[in-house]
Amino acid sequence: MDPARKRRLRLFVALSTVVVLAGALVYTSFSAATQASTPSQVTAAAEPGRSYELTGKVVDGSVSARGDELRFAIRDRAGPQSVPVVYAGVVPDPFREGREVIVEGQMRQGTFVAERDSLVTKCPSKFTKETASTRG
């Protein structure tokens, strides 16, 4: 093979590898991604089998614990629309009714089934200027 053709071939192989890898990155990330959404968004249109990161406030009087399972409802930051949540795992200390929380999971028959340990509480902290997120 003459050198020029060899170089072209090498360039072609390298470029197609890059394209394939870039495609894989884009495809897998978009299909595995968790979408940030609000209670009204997930109740209105949630694809089954897709993960959502639900942000909202814990509805007053909605928290109940049964064994390892915690049930509560999250409502829109400004608005009454709410969605029931089932959760298991570590509950951050600042978790309380009225607080803003983020939880990851999927919609199943009108209930948001959260992933284990995915609950994060946003709370005002004197150590940070904005809000801090607290895990476990």
């Binding site: 897998t28 990330s29 595995a32 991604a33 968790t34 340990d117 004197k126 997120s133």
Partner: protein, 721 residues
Amino acid sequence: MPAIGAACLFVGLLAALYAATASLYGVQTGRRALVVSARRAMYALAGLLLLAVAILEVAYARSDFTFALVAENSSTTTPTFYKLTAMWSSQAGSLLLWAVLLSIFSAVVLRATRRRHREIVPYATAVLGGVAAFFLSLMLFYSSPFDVLATPPVEGNGLNPLLRHPAMMIHPPMLYTGYVGFTIPFAFAVGALITRRTGADWIRSTRRYTLVAWSFLGFGIMLGALWSYSELGWGGYWAWDPVENASLMPWLTGTAFLHSIMVQERRGILRVWNVSLIAATFVLSLLGTFLVRSGILDSIHAFGASTLGTPFLIFIGAVVIGSVTLIIARLPDLRSAPWLDSLVSREVVFLLNNLVLVLLCVVIFWGTFFPLISEALSGKRQSVGPPWFNFFGTPLALVLVLLSGIGPAVAWRRATLAGLWRTLTVPVAVVALTLVLLLVLTPAADNVWALAMFCLAAFVVAVVSQELVRGASARRTMTGGSWPAALAGLVSRNRRRYGGFIVHVGIAVLFLGVAASSAFIEQRDVRLAPGQSVELDGYRVTYREPTARILADESDTGAPITLGAVLDVEKDGERFALSPSRNYYTAGDAQSTGAIRRFFEGEATSEVAVRWGLRQDLWTAVRPDIGVLEEAIAKADRQFSDPRFADAQGLIVATIVERYRQQAPPAYFRTLVSPLIAWIWIGGGILLLGALVALWPAPGAADRRLRALYAARVGRELSRA
């Protein structure tokens, strides 16, 4: 005193700007004295910034709350160790840390190269001065560590409880030393490009600094992982959090750089690649510093949003554009002769290792910035989690470990497949034996990825051991003496080579721990009343009794309230006790939270209890259910909120806390058995040891340098004569 500190920064800025302009002007016009004065300005900068740090540290030690920074993240009740290390928990303080480390690095490297590379060094000085000037302007115009409070408070805020862990206080300086250290090779690379001296000179002068930066960054990342494991109550050490990723990315490109510069030193090739890699590493270091402070990505590490976003982005953009333009402009000078003698050679293995490392970095970059990318592309903010990172990271890590085993076994330039096979016979046999033993004796087959990693780790250790044994035995036949003496002699004769091999062993051991602990971890989350127990991997963990302490936190973090548990553990007749606990810090203000309630509603941190072991760790954390105290707290708040009872509040809190101990309500426990997790830390230690071996100056190096200088001078004299 704050005024003196601010003055130090201001004069420092002038010195940095002077250094940048004087060295540029001096080298352009050939005025050597100006270049020398620029270097001295950089020494002065280091002195000024050290003074500024000293002033701030004294203020922290004395709890001088006229300093806004001290009031913000220290207090009189903060333990001394945390007072002194609180500086870098704030934005302004960490900028100062960056700047002072940069000025020290610059002063050292400029002094070391003062008689060499007269063409490159002035430009490098200008780059270093420019970077320093940027950080100083940030402090002077955006976020000053020397802001003054007109009416100093009686008591400060205290240090964020989450950061009260020894590892966490050493972690930021280590990371920053790493980030900052990469500025040195970057500055010299820029100098080399501008002066078209694209040979290996700039690499030889900065290799040591790169290695120092790389070691510190690696050590910092390890400390961060250790902190996560032993302070955050979730039991893991790596969560693919944006800030963790940000520190890993420059380490990966830095690792690639350390390998590819060896190829340039030996063969004079890969020049474009090397300057691009170091530019990328420097940019990623800036990005790492920036991400912690920006709050543009959700992270539990992002301690507060800040105003630094815009200037930082402009600076990073300028560095990217400047580097790319410079490299493109110098492409003709960077060309090297065609090079591939053989596809079986160490160069090729290094190139593969570089590609895998950079690919891994690209993957992490994409995943980390995916929320921003997806928002830009689809208008919806989406994120990818650990499974996505693991999907790409696991196979890439396997390839990396494999390459780190093959590399030491292949010769430079041209090796033959037959020769390679001869070298690898024993290691491959070791792998086969390992595989059989694992399949027969352990349940490792349950996880194919982990099984593969165990085999590859064995491969790396076998290759390196074989190299050591071969070298030592050759040395013994030459010089005689005992095996240990021969081994020590071998390593000290070629420290770079064998230091590198030791690092490879460290990596293999580290990944052995990662694979075992992530594939075979056992976890139970339970709610236990005193007397109840949980079974976990042969351990029987029984909740004996609750504990409640006031102002007596065992790990000395200064927490007012500590609630915990005593656990009795039994396994195979062995018995011991573990006492995990949880520290409660007081919430900010009494008005909105309640005078008594605020003692229970502030931040809380887990103090986990771990039974460390080479085979496995038993890790426990407790979350007391303080719901039972709810009634008492509410009642106390109603009765004693009046400031008249301020003196009695401590007593009331103590009574409520004591009630927790007596009532002994059920508590939540997380228990983990992580096999071989200790080997992550041991692997990290081996890695560091290897880096130290590679860094240690060879005996007589200083001697040789002096002789070379002398010879050069004699040569000059002779040619003149």
